[in-house]
Structure formats: structure tokens, C-alpha cells
Symmetry: C2
Amino acid sequence: MLRVAVALAWQKKRVGGMRMPSTAARAVHALKDENCPILISPSLVSLDLPDVWASNPNPHDFPSAHKCSNEQNAAIIDGKSMAEEIMSRIAFEVKRMKESIGKVPGLAVIMHLDEAKILDVLSLEKDVDGFHPVNMGNLALRGREPLFIPCTPKGCIELLIRSGVEIMGKRAVVIGRSNIVGLPTSLLLQRHHATVSIIHAFTKNPEQITCEADIVITAAGVPNLVRGNWLKPGAIVIDVGTNPIEDPSCEHGYRLRGDVFYEEAVRVASLITPVPGGVGPMTIAMLLSNTLDSAKHAYDFT
Amino acid sequence: MLRVAVALAWQKKRVGGMRMPSTAARAVHALKDENCPILISPSLVSLDLPDVWASNPNPHDFPSAHKCSNEQNAAIIDGKSMAEEIMSRIAFEVKRMKESIGKVPGLAVIMHLDEAKILDVLSLEKDVDGFHPVNMGNLALRGREPLFIPCTPKGCIELLIRSGVEIMGKRAVVIGRSNIVGLPTSLLLQRHHATVSIIHAFTKNPEQITCEADIVITAAGVPNLVRGNWLKPGAIVIDVGTNPIEDPSCEHGYRLRGDVFYEEAVRVASLITPVPGGVGPMTIAMLLSNTLDSAKHAYDFT
């Protein structure tokens, strides 16, 4: 086996510039400090910092006098109903599969274990979350296609398309950059030819950037982070946040709030997902859709 | 072997929502059109469209009266000199390796062959370009680190760091979204905690978005695309473009122009790379640095 590194010659001029012998000859040059690292760039893992967002307003505090850009009422994207339609179709396919080959899809859920280690040994064909680096790399790279697209981002795109939203050429802002939602959502929006900006806890002026967006997808995990005045009038808002807020009056002692200050945003946006009943049901539908695709592939069933 | 798909339980509430039996029971629902696809979202590969940029000004036309935001002169980032220092250190390491274990790094360049097929069979440990989907996925995913970072993006970051630029919290615009430069550059800037916007040929108002950036990295392959009035005064400009322009007065019959209208930009930016002599030499240095790392890993040499 040849122990040589390999570079694909994507630029002829670069090939011409790679002359190892002449580079090796540079060893005669004295070095100022031989103990210095060759590169100054730090390790990427050492750069991993937690995204700690600035404090958000009290979720129980809904100032009625908050000034929004205008008074337009947004149409509500009914994620629950869209997800139910998809799940009905999946159920039909499962039934057809059972009747044809006597098999049905199975879904195993793994908890109590290191995510990275599991992903490293997981068969790509079973990675219905789409979290494996190969699936993520293939999502990022044009000309390639992942076996599975992560469920929440896929659900967001499906919600937009089913709502008649044209993504191409739109200015999109993704708030949050988690591996499971923010990152793949930004990659997927780019594949759909949106111009994407990614906002995170180190962004200095998130409201200013968000205000320029035609499409806002927020997955920060901070209740009421996105105020009405963060939005451009007529913006389309997909709220991935499902933040439990204590509320003794509710059946389970809590209720869910999104990342978006809904009561304000609904007066500014043209289209918005509710929480709950928006992205959540679509995420489940996408997981089942990916599971069905995985089973069809495993049993070579079309 | 269990033929089940696997989902990592990253949200307890999602686990609670996944009930395959109840979903299967939905088969009793009549479907409006059984022949419709379950999802409306199109295949990602079908979305791959070429980036055709709008026409750019004649590269020979440098209007002296072009109005720039101010008259500040940018400092020039000397990529050639920085790359030479790095290559000297690499050469020293190669010499040390040869004297210690009698081995030197080797670099094979692959041309005339399908890039995707080569990447699929290439050992990750030899992917010094960092183009393999696993390397790209690990570059995208926080908490992971690729074995190799693509050379040009890595060179851009090294240029910024060696020039004393603080990336964290800065607004960065990447112009161009190629797999080899634009995409990995945007991912790398995010890992360094910049707020990144990615501009491509489908972006409607590239100059407006670029004008907001503290750091502009352009890799569109369009000579003189970025005019002086695209830049915020004091912006830092890294020009990856190396576009050959016919010029009979030059030795080889052509000269290189960047994506940036240099004569204009140098009056607006605070820091800028020249073309040639900026990113190009650093790309070569990064390729050799990755090659050295690959050889050290292969021979377990530290």
C-alpha cells in the first residue's frame, strides 16, 4: 500500500505549484523558533463554546403596548394537519408493505449512551435521524445527496413547500446552530437556493439581521427570544422552539412556548407556525417517513 | 442482524410521540390520491443548479471617478511571505522526519477521473484536500473535528489570524458556495464564531448584504465582481479569486485578477489580500501542511 497523501487536482495552477523537493530544500532556512507550531489556527474542537443566549423576557409578560412594525395578521401554518396527512400516507405504505412481503418497518430508539460513539458504529442505512457525519457531509455538498435528511429541518422545508412558499432567492435567517436543527436547516435552505445567514449566541445584533429576512427559522431553545420588532413585515416564521414553561393551570403543570414571541409576531409576519402544533408534528412525520424509506431500502421494496 | 432503523433520542418528548402501532392504525384513513408522493420536497440533487453570476464590469475598465465610501488605504496581507514562513517550518519537519525515521511525506495528485468516485474509495487518512464527505461532515458538526480541513479555507483563516483579526462575533460574508472553497469556508468561519451569510448567484442583493460585513471572503470566480461600494469602510477582504485575464503585455499572455475590484476596494477596506500573492501561496502551504500531518500520522511520527 502506498503511504502517500492524495490531493484531487481541482486547479491546474495549484498542481504546478506543488513541488515537494523545492519545498524540502527550504530546510536550509533557519527558523526563528523551532518549537512554535507550524500553524497558528487552533484546534476546531477547542473552539467549541456553549451557546449561552442573552436573557429573554419573562414568558408570562406580554406587553400589550409593544409596538410592532404593522398590524397585519399572519396566516397560521397548520403543521398538525399537514403531518397527519403525511402519516396517513405512511400508514398506507406500511399496510401495503405488510400485505406484500409480510414485513413492517421497525424503529429502535437509543438513549443512556454517547451519541458520537453510537454514530460512529451506526449503519448509514439505519441513520434515520440523519446525524451521521457522512449524511451531514452529503447534505452539505452539492452534487451529493444524504440517505436521510435530519427530521426537523426536513419538516421545516416540507411546511414551507406545502404552504406555497418559494424558497429560491429568498433571504433566510436561521437562529441557532445546533447539530440537529440549526446546522442542517441552514444547509438545506442553501440547497434550496436561499441566501442564508446563521445567527447564534455570539451574534452581536441578531434583531438587525433577522429583520432583513423573508424566512426566519428559529431553533435557539430560548422562549420568546424573537420579538415582533425582530421581524420584517410579511416575514414567514417557522418556530422550532418547544420550551416548557411552568403553568399550574395546565394539565401537566407546564405549557409549551416557542422561541418566537407569538402574540407579537403574529401581528407582523405573513405566515407563522404555532407552538405546539407546528414543527413538532412534522418532525415526527419526517422521522416515520425516513423510517419507512429505510425499511423499503432494506427489503428492496418499492 | 436487526433490520430496524435507529433514532437517537435527543428529545424525550419526541420519543413519547413515536408510536408506530397507532400510526399504522391510520391506514384505515382513505387517501385522496394514493399515487401522490408522501412528501412534496424534491430530491436535493434535482435542485443542483449552476451558479451563473450576473455580468461583471470589464476588467480593463477601472473608472477613476468611481465613488467609494471613503479614501482609507488598506493594509496589504502578504500571503506569500506568510506562506514562505510556514513552508520553511514544514521543510524543517520533513528534514527532521527523514533524519529520524528515513521517511518523507509523499503527495499523489489525481486528475482525468470522477471526483465523487475517487472520494468514495479514498482513505480518509490520505484525503489531504479535506473533500471527503466524512471530513466535510466533521467540519460542519460541532464537537467533531475533521482529519483535514480543506486547504483554501484553512489558508484564509490562517491569513486572518496571522493578521491579528479577531473572528469571533464578527459579521462575515462568504461569496460563492463551491464545495471546495465557499462551503467549507462558511463552516470554518462559523466554527470560529463569526455570524456568517453565504451569497451565491441566486442572491438578489449581494452588494447590500456584503456591505454589512466586517470580513468578506470571496470565491465566486468572477473577476472584479466585488466593487468598492460593496464594502463597509474598514472591512477585511480575503480574495480567493484567481481569474486569468488576457493581457498580451504579460509574460504568459494573461494576468490574474481577483473577484474583488482591487483598485476600488483598497480605498475602502482596512486589510486586503492581493491577487496574486494572497490566498494562493497559503493554499499551497496548507496542502503541504496537511500532507505533512498525513505522513506523521501514517508513520506515527511526532
